[in-house]
Structure formats: C-alpha cells, structure tokens
C-alpha cells in the first residue's frame, strides 16, 4: 500500500494505482491549472492527450502513466 502526498494531503492507495487514479481518490481529480486558472484533469488515460501533466517530486510527469510510489509528493497547484 504506497503512501503518497497530494498537495500535502497524505493518501494511501492500492499497489499499482496510477497517480491519475490517486488524484481522483484524493482531491478534485485535477492535475494542474491552466493559465486562466481553470482546473484541468486527466482525459485519455493512455499518455497521449497530455492533459494530466502534474508535478511529481518536482518533475513534470503524466499522472496517467506514473504508478504511485511510497513517499511521492504530487503538486497540482504549481
């Protein structure tokens, strides 16, 4: 059961859960904000549409293509 942090909130998920799924479980389901402030969320779920770009441990990743790992820090507000 990996434990990770989404915008500072601790959440534990089943092994093999993607960050996109964790976002849906933990918060508003969104991965980032557009320039105009609109929240953006995963769409295609297969690494193509680039909507689920999210900051993970300071690196920009695709939430749908990244499995959750222990201690990850996911930031959707930056």
């Amino acid at each position: 059961m990996p434990e990770l942090y989404i915008d500072g909130q601790r959440i534990s998920v089943a092994a093999g859960t993607s960050v996109a799924a964790a976002l849906a479980l933990a918060g508003d389901g969104c991965s980032r904000s557009a320039l105009n402030g609109t929240r953006r969320a995963p769409l295609c779920g297969m690494g193509v549409c680039q909507e689920c770009r999210v900051s993970i441990d300071g690196q920009r990743r695709l939430a749908c293509q990244t499995p959750c790992r222990d201690g990850m820090r996911v930031e959707t507000r930056r």
């Binding site: 320039l35 680039q50 770009r53 920009r60």
Partner: protein, 371 residues
Amino acid sequence: MNARRCADVIVVGAGIVGAACARALAQRGLEVQVLDDYRGGATAAGMGHLLVLDDNPAELALSAYSLQCWRDWAPRLPAGCAYRNNGTLWLAADAEELALAAAKQQRLSTHGLDCELLGAAALRAAEPALRADLHGALKVGGDGIVYAPNVVDWLLAHEHIRRCRAQVVELDGAAVRLADGRRLAAGAVVLATGIDAGALCPELPLTPKKGQLLITDRYPREIRHTLVELGYVKSAHQATGPSVACNIQPRPTGQLLIGSSRQFGSRDPGIDGTLLARMLKRAVHYVPGLATLNAIRCWSGLRAASPDGQPLLGPHPHRPGLWLALGHEGLGITTAPGSAELLAAQLCDERPPLPVAPFLPQRLLPEAADA
C-alpha cells in the same frame, strides 16, 4: 453560371491572408462575404513569427511594411492574439555567420529598421540559455510574435463582413459554386486558400513545403527573443531535400515553440519522426537546456511556395473577376497586412503603398490557361 449576387466581394479562405483581405476591403466600404470550409491551413499550423526577411528587395519591402502594420494594430489586438514585440535574434555560430549578420544589419538599417549587432558577450547577457560559444547575433527589434487564428477572428469582426462555413467547389470569374449546389456571385472573387488553391485553380504554380513544429509544456521564462540560426536562410531556400534550422520562440504562456523544417513534395500530414529528431537536435545544439523539457504536441502544416518565393497578389491574368492572394510560403502571417493592402488597392484602383510588380500573378501565369 446562374448566381445570386451576395456581396461586393467574395473572399474564399478565412486564413490570415483571406481575413486581412476581407478587412482591408470592408474598410473601403465594400460588403464582403467570406467563405471557408474550416479544414484549417497554414494559419493554424504556423509559428506566428512576425519577422522582416531581406532575401530580395520585394520581400524586404513587403515584410517591413507589414511589420509596421502589425505594430499599428498591436494596441487594438485582443489579449488572445498574444502579440508580443519581443524581437528576433539571428544567431551567428562562427565568424562567417557574424559577417552575414553584419551584412544583414547594413541592409535592414538602410531600410530604417531597428537592428543591433550583438557580440558574444552581449548575446550571452541577452539570452543566457544559449550555448556559450556563439560569436554573436543580429537583434531585429521590430519583429514579434502573434497567435494568428485569433487574429483572424478579430479581423473578420467588422460590420461589412459576413462569414459563412461553405466549401467552394468551382470558380467562375466573379462567381463561385458551393458543394451544396448553390451559386454565389459578386463584383470580384478573391482566392486566398493557400496550398489548397490547386483544387480550384490547377494552373497556379504552387508547391507544398511541409513544416513540422513542436511545443513544450509551460516553464519559467528563460528565453525572451525568438532565436533563429543564420543558417536558416540557407536551409529555408535550399532547392531540394528536407532541411532543418533552429527556430525557438518563447510563447507568452511560458511554452517554447520549436521549429523549423522544410520538406518538398509531401502532402502527408503525418509526423516524420526522423526529421523531427533532426530538428530538435538542431534546437538543442543552440539551447542545450531544451533537452530536459517535456514536449506536449507536435504537428505539421503545408506552406504554399511559388517558383520565385513571392506571393501572388492581384488579378488572375486569364480569369476576369478572379483575384489571387496566396503563395506566401513561410511568410503569410507576417505579410498578411501588406498583402491585403496591395490586393485591396489594386481591386479598388488606388495607388498601392508599395510597388506591386514583383507580386503580380501574371509574372507566373504568362500563357492563357486552358480552363
């Protein structure tokens, strides 16, 4: 053709050139009907780099005049047009290219254009993300960037312009036939459909030059100017074979738009991965830090190239009533304002703001067409 008169002028094609022509005609009091089938073209695919090019006097005159139009438009452009007067840096990788930059500065200065030769140290201060061993650059201060699709909407928002989604399938002088069978007539028809004009007007000597672009995710802004290698001029005008050149444009969003490539003869919209890789390596060669950024999209588009590299602006010599505004190759967004003024001035019998001879379609259509 039995046709209903729908306007003073019909403009076919609502890319940046068609939209600018429609606006220029509407400002002269003409009623303009714009027809477009929304297939999308070079306006949607292009970088939106507004730049002065000086390969020949006609190109310099048209691009310099157009850049002045863009700067005049700038205060009125909505925020979504993303206009920025950020300037272009023409990068010199060696002493030979620095000499090219100096010669370019001479030509542009003679034309009264704002440009400044930067040495190696000044260039590093201006753009620290560039590789450290460049010899310098020519900064062209009046150049800019824009998001052209939104400029189209701005240009077409005029009381004398009506815009309609329709596919034109046949041209007949100052009339057109639509895919749904309707026929529309006007005092004149302006064809501004870029490379797609061949389907309606097969005698036009236009060839597609395919380009590929890539855009990154948003990052903190580290690049301010549009960065173009001086080798661009060489590669852009290479007669055959695919070519790439470093062209890096900072978007106001914090994204970087990366080009450029040229490929002859292909109409396949698919991405050529090998050529894309060559293009990106070229960009990384100049800005090493690019290698760590994420790309989010890549796409392609077709430039409509004429045999002598200049657009066709004016009456079709063998089809009375038909006017042409196309063949802009890679400079259509830049020169849309000037192209529109040249077209509208001819159509309305005014004195054009620049000599029109280098752009008249008859230079490329000397023989009577079979059509």
